[in-house]
Each structure stands twice: as C-alpha cells, then as structure tokens.
Amino acid sequence: MIQTPESEKDMSTPAQPSSLASVASAKPQRTQASTAQGTGLEARGIHAWFGKNHVLSDVNLEFSAGSVTALIGPSGCGKSTFIRTINRMHEFIPGAAMAGQVLLDGKDVYAPGVDVTKIRLQIGMVFQKPNPFPSMTIGENVLSGLKLAQLKVENKDELLESCLVRAGLWNEVKDRLNTHGGSLSGGQQQRLCIARALAVSPQVLLMDEPCSALDPGSTLRIEETIRELSDSMTIVIVTHNMQQAARVSDYTAFFLSDGGPGEMIEVARTSEIFSQPKDQRTENYVTGRFG
C-alpha cells in the first residue's frame, strides 16, 4: 500500500487510523541490526527549561542500537528540545537548563570532563531546514565534518562517494561535486546534509523534522535513506507526519503538553501505537481527533 504523505488534518476520516496501523504493520519486521555500533542510547529523567519556563518533564526513553524511533506529538510539546538535549545542542540556547542523564554506551554525556565536541561527533544531527554551508562545494560540504573536527581519513574520495551513496544523492551529484551546494533543490540539499552528518560516522543520528520543508518525492527518497541507514546506526526522528512515523520507525514515542511542560505519554512498537495505543490521549492523536 503506497501512500503519499499528507498533512495531519487530512487524517480525520475514519478510514485513516486502521490504514496507519496497516502501514506500520506492513513494514517487514526487521531483525535488530547486528552491524550497528555501540550499545544504544538511553535518556533518564530528562527535564528541560528555557529560563523559568519548564518545557520538558521527566522523559525516560531507551533507544536500542540500530533501531529507528519516531517522536510524534503536537507542536510545542518538547520533541525537538528533547533530541537537542541528547547531543548537547540544547545548551546553545541562552537561558537553557536541563536535568537528567543521557547515556551513550552507558556513559553520561553530561558527566563532568566529557568532551562535548566528541559527543557531537558520535551523535550526529540533521536539522529541519536544509543548511549546507554556502561557502563550500558539494564535496567540501560532505567532508566538512572531518575538517571541523580535524579528523584524518585514509581515502577521502572513497568516503565522499560512500556517504553520498548512503544518503541517496550520489547519482544526482557525482558529476558536479565541485559546484556549490546552494544550486541543489531543497530535497537534494537535505540529503547533502545527511551525507555530511554520515561522513564523521556517528553511531546515533538525530533528525529534527527532516522532511517538513520537502515535497512528497524528496520525502520518500529520504525515508528510503533512513531505512537503509538504520542497518548501521541508531536513528531518532522527530516528525509531524504520522504516516512517516508509521513507515520508517520501529518504535514510536508520543509526546504531549497539556499547557505545562511536555511529557512522554507512551512509547511502544510503532505497529502497536497505531493499532492499539494504551493511552486514550495517544489514540485521540493518532486517530486525528485532536492535534
């Protein structure tokens, strides 16, 4: 069953919930990837504040190595804030504060003495808006992470090709690696940003609504990329598109804010979230009754 992504509002028809569930269960059940690096990621009791504003309360989530987890929920419920606490981008915002632990391979990334740049090398991030570096060519963009972190690699050309192939962009750009990234379409730019994140071989990839600015064709292309990547890394994806969550993720976590700080309401296998959610609020959301 092929569905093009639609806006959430279109999901209020009664036929939709069962179809989302069927999308989720129609996916071939993947055996947990054995090639994934590390032993996974765990968030324990994460709270977040902006100034005095408590935006996220007590989130506990485990991401096993090589899994794809989708975070869904209405706008402003703290999904993006949550993934930004994972790779310590949260502290970038003036007035930000947090509590809790983020364990990568069992070690807290917030522990004193941890090199934050190393954490960000291990936990890569793809942003909502494609943001290739304007002063660099396509090839330089892909390899920019190595230069930024001053890493050395044996064979740059090989790495460049493998990253672009894995991001599903190689065939489109292989003849113009020396042109600037700004000349690509929005979807291609986003895949370039994914390739850029892959070049430093992170073990976790965080994606903050990576397809929200893209057309359906580019979205499908990136979803394919996500599925291919999940063989070798742990992926956490924030999305407003529930069909996307149903299509790409193994697990889905539902976040909600009832005016106060955002909370994680429920997490389960994606097929369960969309077919038999335990919480009434989750059911209301995935069936399109609100949000």
Binding site: N87, M89, F92, P94, T117, K118, R120, L121, G124, M125, F127, K129, N131, F133, P134, S135, M136, S144, G145, K147, L148, A149, Q150, G182, C193, R196, A197, V200
Partner: protein, 347 residues
C-alpha cells in the same frame, strides 16, 4: 480558433497623461522664472524653490479636480518627497561639478610620476606631481589596514559569536568611538606616542590615528554582516563536532567574506581623506618617502591643504587637482564596496 492576446499594461500612463505631466513641469518652470523676475527672490535656489512649490500646487489642483481631496494630498506629498531627494542630490552634484571644473586643468600625466621636491608653488602646472602624496596616502592606509582589520573583525566576532559579558558596553563604546572627531584621534597620538616616545613625524604616527578612526567603522559593519549569517550554519557546524573557533573560521567567516570585504572598503573610504590627524602627525614633505616609519611623509589631504595655503594661482590649481584625485580614489573604493556588497551574503 485561436486568438493571440497581446500583452498590455492598462495601468501604464497614456500619451495624453504624459503630455499633461510634461506641461505641468513646463508651467512650473515658467512660473519659477516669472517669480524670480517679479519678486525680490534671487539666485539658483530661488528657481528651484519656486519650481517645486508651483509644481506641488499645480499637480495638487489637477489631482483635486480629477479625483478629489485625498488624491490632491497624495500628489502634493509626492512632490515634497521628490524635493527631499533633490535636496540631497544637489550639494553632492554641486561639489562634484566644482571639483571637476577646477581640478581638470591641473590633471596631467606627470602628476602620477613625479613629486613636488623639485618644484615650487609658483612653477607652471606641468612641473612637479602628486606621486609623493598618492604613495604617502596609500602607505598610511595600508599600515592602518594592517592594524585595524584584525582588531575590528575580532571585536565584531566578540560581539556576535562570543557574546561575552562585556558585549553591551563594548558595542556602546564602539558606537561612541565612531563619533570621535578626527582631530581628537590626532591629538591623542600626538600626546601619547609622538611627544613621549618617537619625538618625530612619520607615516606610522598618521596610521595610528587613522587606525583609531577606522576600527569603529570596520567593527560595526562587520558586526552587522555577521548578524546576517543564519544561526543554522553555526548550529550545523557545532553539531558536526566543530569547536566554536573551527566553526567560525571554517563556516561563518567564509560565508560572510564579501560582507567583511565591504566593511574593510568602507573603513578605507572613511580614512582616505582624513586631514586633521595627518596635519598634526605626518609632517607633510614634498618628496616620495617610501619608509613610513621614518621621516615626514606626504599625503593627498596634506598636499591639498598646503597648496591652498601657498595661494599662487598654480598652487590653487594643483590643490584642486589633488582634490579630484582624492575624490576619484574614494569614489573607486565606494563603487568597489557596492559591487561586493550587492552580492548575496549567503546561499
């Protein structure tokens, strides 16, 4: 059946409208001549003033007849706005015209190949030249650049990237510094460096004062350019495992390159014609002095000042020619700055 539809512009002025507008202008010109003849108003400004006044009244009346009071107000305000623009352009055009008229007779080829060391103010125009002044100005500007560009850009980086505790006071000080009169900068260097330390005129002294004047321009323009760089890029760089310094050096500064270039050029344009500190600190000199660290050095503003003071007709022509060269130099820099800044800052 296919009909070809020709593109039209129903909103464009018809030829009748154009004739009417033109006749309004003619009537206004006529009226302004009449007013100057009849009334005690005299001079070029009187023509311009009565022209604008009558044009405002005529267009206002015409608009009132055809479309009523709001349209009349609209037409009059349009004229007042045009008057404002004209008032801005008039002095600039007048300056350029005067300098060209007085300076062109003094322009000749050897101006750029010889200096004034073997010529006196009363010598014919064709003897002597501006080489010492041009090279002196360029030497001092380059020295000032070497000192002020790093300081200015680092200040801008502190304000936009580090956003340290003192960003507020520093921003305020930099803004205040851009209002410092140039003579103050000159006196400061005179009393703080020249008298107590070097005890001699040199190009370096002049450059130090120019640096003080140049830093605020470069720092403020660079700050504005850096603020235009989207925060996404900084976040992307950091999320890839770059330290802040690597991110700034590899991503932010290259993205802002053309804007920073503009900042530098605006800085040069700010100081190229600066006169007061030059008079106090460089000692002038009529000979080409390639060493900015030793001995008096000439410069265009100094040369212009000196020639005007000499007072002979030849010296006056030389001064105007120097002004023309100086203005061309600044003009070239401004055109270059505009060309660079019109390129997009990012993407």
């Amino acid at each position: 059946m296919t009909t070809t539809i020709a593109p039209t512009k129903p909103w464009a002025k018809s030829s009748r409208d154009r004739v009417r507008d033109f006749s309004f202008i003619l009537i206004s010109i006529l009226f302004s001549f009449l007013a100057v003849e009849v009334t005690p108003l005299k001079g070029k400004l009187a023509y311009a003033f009565t022209f604008f006044l009558s044009y405002a009244v005529i267009t206002g009346i015409s608009a009132f007849i055809s479309r009523g009071a709001p349209a009349a107000k609209d037409a009059m305000i349009k004229t007042v706005v045009a008057l404002g623009a004209a008032l801005t352009v008039l002095p600039i055009a007048s300056i350029i015209f005067t300098v060209l008229k007085n300076g062109l007779p003094g322009i000749h080829l050897s101006l750029f190949t010889t200096d004034m060391s073997m010529a006196t103010p009363t010598d014919p125009i064709a003897t002597g030249g501006l080489l010492h002044a041009i090279t002196g100005t360029i030497t001092m500007v380059i020295l000032a650049l070497i000192m002020s560009v790093p300081i200015g850009i680092l200040t801008a980086l502190y304000l936009t990237e580090i956003k340290g505790k003192f960003a507020g006071p520093i921003r305020f000080l930099v803004q205040a510094m851009s209002g410092v009169p140039s003579i103050v900068a000159g006196l400061f260097i005179l009393s703080a460096v020249l008298y107590p330390i070097t005890k001699a005129y040199s190009g370096l002294m002049g450059s130090l004062a120019l640096t003080i004047l140049m830093i605020p321009t470069i720092a403020r323009t660079s700050e504005e350019v850096l603020l235009l760089i989207p925060n996404d890029l900084r976040e992307a760089g950091t999320a890839l495992g770059g330290t802040q310094w690597r991110t700034v050096a590899m991503i932010v500064l290259p993205a802002a390159r053309s804007g920073l270039m503009t900042a530098v050029i605006l800085g040069i344009a700010r100081i190229a014609g600066e006169t007061a500190p030059i008079l106090l600190l460089t000692g002038g000199g009529d000979k080409v002095n390639p060493n900015a660290f030793n001995g008096p050095i000439g410069s265009l503003p100094y040369y212009i000042w000196k020639s005007f003071n000499a007072g002979s007709p030849e010296a006056l022509t030389r001064a105007w020619a120097g002004l023309l060269v100086l203005m061309l130099l600044v003009l070239i820099l401004f055109v270059a700055a505009r060309a660079l800044s019109s390129r997009k800052v990012s993407k």
